[in-house]
């Protein structure tokens, strides 16, 4: 009940301001704010691909970490079998890391 109440009031205020508030959209006002002067360069600057490459590696190795979570929970009971199993997993992805590193995809300059 409390949740509803809180959400209700917040939404109410939001709706009220958008409805009541004065809205004048002329060109200058809509431009990204740059201390008064007219912006020279469009804010959406293009950045190079290596940022994207790092994002991919983050996604892949994040998945690897996600696989480690449940493994950590039952590490004790699994004994040697579980250990070997996870080592194979880690080694395969370490090979991926070595490949990426030697391939030069991680350079930053």
């Amino acid at each position: 009940m409390m949740l509803l109440l809180a959400a209700g009031t917040a939404a109410g205020i939001l709706v009220a301001t958008t409805l009541i508030g004065p809205k004048k959209e002329f060109a200058d006002k809509m431009e990204p704010f740059e201390c008064g002067e007219h912006p020279i360069v469009s804010p959406k600057l293009r950045f190079s691909v290596k940022f994207y490459l790092v994002a991919i590696f983050f996604v892949i190795f994040d998945i690897e970490a996600v696989f480690l979570y449940p493994w950590a929970v039952i590490f004790k009971d699994l004994g040697i079998f579980g250990f070997v199993e996870m080592m194979i997993f880690i080694i395969i992805l370490a090979i991926g890391l070595i490949y990426v590193w030697r391939r030069g995809a991680l350079e930053w300059q």
């Binding site: 959406k44 994207y52 991919i56 996604v59 994040d62 690897e64 996600v66 929970v73 579980g82 991926g96």
Partner: protein
Amino acid sequence: MFYIIGGVAVLSALIMVTNKKPVSAAMSLIVVMFCLAGIYVILDAHLIAALQIIVYAGAIMVLFLFVIMLLNIQEKEGRVAKHKIFFQFTWILATGYVFINMVKLIGAGDLPARMEGNIDGFGTTRVVAEILFTDFLLPFEIASILLLAAIVGAVILAKAKIE
């Protein structure tokens, strides 16, 4: 509670499909992901809910936003040529119709016998882990090879210069 979250999920999915700007489409997809995580919590699938947020909302959506930023897409959806609109309109109707009765069919279906008893700690990580690392060993190792292939593929395609 489920109905609220379900409603929000459907709403934001609709926003995503009909949205003009890719960035706001990605934002509404993130909202869908969070609603789904909420539903998983209702279904006692705690590990999967946490995972959904970490993996999907966290990593994949970041990737999407990266690409949107990278490609600096401004162009709006151009006006579609005349005949194209008609073609697309019928297409939407067709697939919409097919799926609606699919929904009815699924909704009405009688369900398999529900196995009694509730495994203690139904959705907790421990239970998931036990099955994952013992019975499902083969898929686990295949997943690692899959990730390796994905990394190699992504590097070759995305890296600026390949000697």
